[in-house]
Symmetry: C2
Subunit: 405 residues, 2 copies
């Protein structure tokens, strides 16, 4: 057994697209890492920058599929991906900034921009390359047109009640049993009914921690588990047989994210081609979209539509830096215009780092309330950016000085 | 249909590990890109460098599995891979340099270092993480122990006859029919019997070009086709039905390299987990290892052993910058110590960029002759490195000056 993500210390690549518009409008995009590696992502953002610089926003969104392909199928940069790892993270950051800019220009939050968008325009944002055996442009259009029925009611419902969330904040590995109990008690008090626990480092430890949580939340509330790629396939089977008695709804990332055939139930994927196969192989019972690992709204749209075609519930991955802020737009749009269902659906929530965002998520009664400010909720507070900028920000200066001593 | 790799212009990340040994011994490693993107790979190499700097070679190769895992499972850098794209290319470059250094210190070419290595030591270089459902350490040991039988004879045979190669140099897209005919005639004269043609840009064009080649080489010689990820799955099926009459032995990369279920016959893969699944899914009829995309000798060893277990012939991918130089070591070792078979096996050969290497490949009678110089054949000529270094080399200075004017 090998542990993964042993010493995360989030950092983020933050892309700001400035324009010469009179209103001084700016598009902000983000993708994060667990610390080291952001410098590599920034290097890739710079390699992609020429696709955006001195372009007209109208031309970009007027042929958004073409622009997406320019970024992801650059004849030379394709080699160091394609559509995976560092370049795809950089692509997400750049495209997230474009979507923020577009939504701000339209004076709408991204979810509302998508909901109001004509199905043909929506489809023109999607690159169907490599997925036409499962989803064609015509399929996508048909799904979106069917989604028009009852849309207004669902939008009202979202504005009133929000989108159901689950919390991962109580049970990280490394928390003491006391901390775990305290956080769990507080979460129950705050109205949470769905909980995710991190597992995989030590089986005895996991059994004890799952027992504590299940005892506290009772038999009816929902429990999920996340192993963060820690196991080989036989190990995952053995481990899970010991944890099954706590009745988890799913076990997340039991093994390598590249292992399609070895995967069970739910997985973070790096692009639409991997999602397509998991759906084809009927290996997924839940589908986790990611707003910073996939190619922004564009690629997530294709995944939401494939999930609808296979009738697999989408339960977005969130946390990190800004994932909650971004992904709420996608899942709210999904409910209003695509899935029209809340059955077995919920969006992850982690209660950290929201203080750096200008338009942080709003959780009420364990639900994401639809954001009302224009844009993709990606913009960070000026003060936070200034403080955390590498290497000249105040926080870094202190860290680097401490290292030298 | 979208084209891929439309404007390749090879560049390479070249890693040199210097030591304080009295003999001034240096390890050289390489991974290449199609042009842009090498700066991103170099950035990732720098992020990995601390794992190598000030370490003792003995400690590294003494626990090579542990070292491999350090590089590929760094708690923070894992996020921007894992084991794929930019970080994995960087890992390959660094590890290739370590293998070059080790082999030079032992005074042997890498293939001979591997052939002479005790099976237990060989196995200790491999990270079995995520593949134990298909290949355990015990399986690997058993295969290698069986491979000891007849090893000496096979080594003699390799030294006398070399390893069978095929040529991709005649039929790149963009060559005129005249060039194609001329190159093909010359290749036949030089004794080549196996030919690969690039396809996928234009069907009529492909039909005409395949016809020319098949006519020239006759019905008995071997023809392969490579589509470089140009198609969606339905498109690949349609296209290939039109090219089937030219009797290709295989069609390479018909679609996305991430599409395991959509794949036919042969594919370049980015890590051992993808190879494992293609073998499990019986989706492969030939397996292409890659010495610059996979995690160096270490990860290629695991793939060679899995291929042996499934009895799938290995036909390495070569070309690019230095791929031929490196991969010959792996396939010669494979024949002598693992597969013990040449049936349906051959190694790609492309006749460019060898002039930059200190120990270039030697082809005789359309076969790779085993290299005799110590190391991994990765070392480049000082003059070539100096001239092509970015941005201060002579070649770059000229290019950059021309750009400014």
């Amino acid at each position: 057994m090998v542990s993964a993500h042993t010493d995360p210390d989030y950092s983020a690549a933050y892309v700001v697209i400035e324009t010469d518009a009179e209103d001084g409008i700016k598009g902000c995009g983000i993708t994060f890492t667990l610390g080291k590696g952001t410098e590599v992502v920034v290097c890739a953002v710079n390699a992609l920058a020429h696709h955006v610089l001195n372009k007209d926003l109208k031309d970009i969104v007027g042929d958004f599929r073409g622009f997406y392909r320019q970024l992801t199928s650059d004849g030379q940069l394709r080699w160091i991906g394609p559509e995976k790892g560092v370049v795809h993270l950089a692509t997400a950051a750049v495209l997230n900034a474009v979507w923020d800019l577009w939504a701000k220009q339209e004076g709408k939050p991204v979810w509302k921009l998508l909901v109001d968008m004509d199905p043909r325009t929506l489809v023109s944002c999607i690159d169907f390359r490599y997925i036409t055996d499962v989803l064609t442009e015509e399929d996508a259009l048909e799904i979106l047109q069917k989604g028009q029925v009852g849309k207004k009611e669902r939008e009202k419902q979202m504005l009133a009640q929000g989108y159901p969330a689950y919390t991962t904040s109580c049970a990280w590995l490394g928390y003491s049993d006391d901390t775990l109990k305290q956080l769990c008690a507080q979460a129950l008090k705050d109205g949470w009914t769905r909980f995710k626990v991190k597992v995989g480092a030590d089986l005895q430890d996991d059994v004890r921690r799952c027992q504590i949580i299940r005892d506290m939340i009772g038999p009816e509330k929902t429990l999920m588990m996340d192993a963060n790629q820690r196991w080989d396939v036989p190990e995952a089977v053995e481990w899970m047989s010991k944890l099954a008695k706590f009745k988890p709804l799913w076990i997340e990332e039991p093994t390598s994210p590249d292992d399609i055939l070895g995967h069970a139930a739910i997985s973070k994927c790096h692009n639409r081609v991997i999602f397509k196969q998991l759906l084809q192989a009927k290996a997924l019972q839940f589908l986790q979209i990611d707003s910073c690992r996939l190619g922004s709204v564009n690629e997530n749209l294709s995944v939401l539509l494939m999930a609808k075609k296979f009738e697999i519930p989408v339960c977005p991955h969130a946390g990190g830096v800004g994932l909650c802020e971004l992904v709420q737009h996608l899942i709210i749009f999904d409910y209003i215009s695509v899935s029209a269902s809340l059955k077995n659906r919920m969006c992850e929530y982690v209660d950290h780092l929201h203080e750096h965002f200008k338009y942080p998520v709003m959780i009420q009664r364990a639900s994401y309330m639809p954001p009302k400010d224009p844009g993709y909720s990606t913009e960070m507070k000026e003060e936070s950016v200034k403080k955390h900028q590498y290497p000249d920000g105040e926080v870094w200066k202190k860290l680097l000085a401490a290292q030298e001593n």
